[in-house]
Symmetry: C2
Subunit: 405 residues, 2 copies
């Protein structure tokens, strides 16, 4: 039996580690012949764009580079499957392509939308009583917003980047004697996990960030300015970390007037600009030195400061995915189950992919302060294990080496 792995959705630092995990488990199992990489997600199945992973990742050196390469070496896609009751042509095409290549298990590494694909295709397979093909979802998202799983592969590295960078920006913003405000915009459309993770730097004695705003708490420009003014009484340099998706009381994105209005194929609005919006607001309402910083794609591609815990566990969940499939599972998403915070321990389980698809796990309201402008220390125990350890790049000419397929 051959197997195939595809990657989908937004890139992360750990999505290739999960690919590496499936590959390694497949090579070790003795039950697998070819291990295919599928280029550009589900699109690559439809177009028969398959590569032989064992030939490409042919030695330990390349395996180590794969673990350390950001983005998605197989490319990604944002294709959404139709309901198969409306249109099953694409489902038949996928099945035919998989069978033609002798593929018995298909692994799809991705976020919410990818789990929607896993759930839909699994439902199709069940309805058609197709039992020679299994599909398994492997979670991935820096947003950390997939349900059921304790956390998502890729999040730990993104959080470690955010913590490291916010701490360095805190140094930078404190050099001048004049008062200043720095607004740091973190990714997170509906879930504020990544912005919230910046609070961890206080465990190292930092006072920053003085303010944290998440999509899970109601945002108000007036309150924001009042909050900043309040913090400026105690701190020369005030740092506010703000999720891109903070929303006003009417549920609209606070940066709406700064948005392009365009939507992606899943109907998500493109977001940009809460940082610039608030920078302008502080300049107008307070008039002090102000700067906004958008952490941008560096949050999801800065492999040079990846979390070892994230990379290791992302490979482990890939390995476990093969075991789950070989034990007969299909239509499920792999999950992390936290056993203990201190010392940190976890196990790997599965859940129905439909339970994870098309819904978002929000940052818990009990970890947000009453004012809605900070994260409570109770959240640190959740975050801290996920950012531990480093997996520094292999360097050549003073720059990282990546693997490109």
């Amino acid at each position: 039996m051959n197997i195939a792995v595809a990657q989908s959705g937004g890139p992360t630092c750990a999505i290739n580690a999960s690919l590496a995990g499936v590959l390694r488990a497949g090579q070790k199992s003795g039950e697998i012949d070819k291990i295919y990489g599928v280029m550009n997600g589900i699109e690559g199945i439809l177009n028969n764009r398959l590569v032989d992973l064992s030939q490409i990742i042919s030695d330990e050196e390349k395996y180590q580079l794969l673990l350390r390469t950001p983005s998605a070496v197989l490319g990604s896609c944002r294709k959404k499957l139709p309901d198969y009751h409306d249109n099953n042509e694409i489902y038949e095409k996928i099945t035919e392509s998989l069978r033609n290549a002798g593929i018995g298990i298909f692994f799809y590494i991705g976020g919410n939308d990818s789990m929607d694909t896993v759930a839909k295709y699994a439902a199709y397979l069940r309805e058609k009583s197709i039992d020679d093909i299994r599909i398994i979802g492997i979670p991935k998202t820096i947003d950390n917003d997939l349900c059921v799983t304790d956390h998502c592969p890729g999040f730990g590295s993104a959080a470690k980047y955010v913590c490291t960078t916010v701490q360095e920006i805190a140094r930078d913003s404190n050099v001048y004697s004049m008062p200043s405000v720095t607004i740091i915009e973190a990714m997170g459309r509906h879930a504020g996990w990544l912005a919230a993770s910046a609070a961890c730097i206080r465990a190292n004695g930092e006072q920053a960030p003085q303010l944290i705003y998440l999509p899970e708490a109601v945002f108000s420009s007036e309150k924001f300015i009042a909050d900043v003014k309040g913090k400026m009484k105690e701190h020369k340099a005030v740092i506010a970390v703000v999720s891109e998706g903070v929303k006003t009381a009417d549920g609209k994105f606070a940066a709406e007037e700064y948005q392009s209005g365009q939507k992606d194929v899943f109907g998500h609005a493109y977001l940009a600009g809460i940082g610039k919006f608030l920078e302008k607001l502080v300049s107008e309402k307070i008039g002090c030195k102000v700067r906004s910083i958008e952490l941008n794609v560096m949050q999801r591609c800065s492999s040079h400061i990846a979390s070892a815990e994230d990379i290791d566990s992302s490979a482990a969940i890939g390995e476990a995915a093969l075991e789950a499939a070989l034990s007969g599972k299909s239509g499920c998403m792999m999950t992390f189950i936290r056993e203990s915070d201190k010392p940190y321990s976890y196990s790997i389980g599965t859940t129905d992919a439909a339970a994870a698809a098309n819904s978002e796990k929000l940052f818990p309201s009990e970890w947000i302060n009453d004012e809605g402008n900070d994260v409570l220390p109770a959240a640190y125990d959740y975050f801290m294990p996920l950012i531990q350890g480093e997996v520094y790049p292999v360097m050549k000419n003073g720059m990282p080496v990546h693997i490109v397929i």
Copy 2:
């Protein structure tokens, strides 16, 4: 005799390494009693804000943290001295403060404007025949635009950050099958060294960046769009690295309409927005997927990916500064003199601070292609030695440890 060190201008990853170098040389010399750190540059002299560095950096562990801490642990300032012929009150005050603290040598670590301060105070000392005080300038700037010296402490680390990050963004931008344009905005008001350094990633086999725009070449929005369209024929994902300070044929900043119009105390216009400006332009004129990324202060504070060559040589130039002062020099700026590219070797010299102040070393036109949209391989030999080696942070709880004074 006591000595004092102050830091000025914009922060870098290496400005504390130069401070560490002066400190270590002072402790070793046997000729120095107290080694003072002056808080917030020349302002700290006027306000007698001195700290005893030997007490604060009291062991090897703290010394190592000092080398790895970004920004400026002593704080900075942007104070400009008046011409002493117009107003010598402040010069008298500085002299009195230094004498009161028994300070015979004053080290000023900074950029163009700081060298202006060194030159002016040295001229005052000469004119007044004051020979119990010496002043030495130690260069520092991520812009790499100081004259006479081969390169500036802090630049190598900033360039290493730019190369690493542009390479990671190149991975990220290539995951989708649809055509895309990514615009990366690098710091550099008048000199494009930092944007130019991104070309080094081609030494590791990258095709990106496909386009590089510097303030040293005339920028035109029309040409930019034509360039991007041309590169899109060959590349799915086009990456353009653009200096914040690119200028049109009339000498105006290309992003002028996106600027605030404000100026800092030295009369420099605040720059922001060439990236956003070009993003909007591509969206309007080409209509493809487009994203702009401002590397922002991360260029100057990302110590976690600092260049070992930069940190080591920045400490060495600090040590050499003390030797120069003890040999009787004053009013000079320390310089790097490149002896050889391959293998890289350099020596440390001095130049009159006035020769470095108030002028900028631009990126050489012979290293820019005829079209004015790329950097020629001849520049790589200059850049490459400066980004070699890593000085990874000391980590605690998965995050870097910094020293704070």
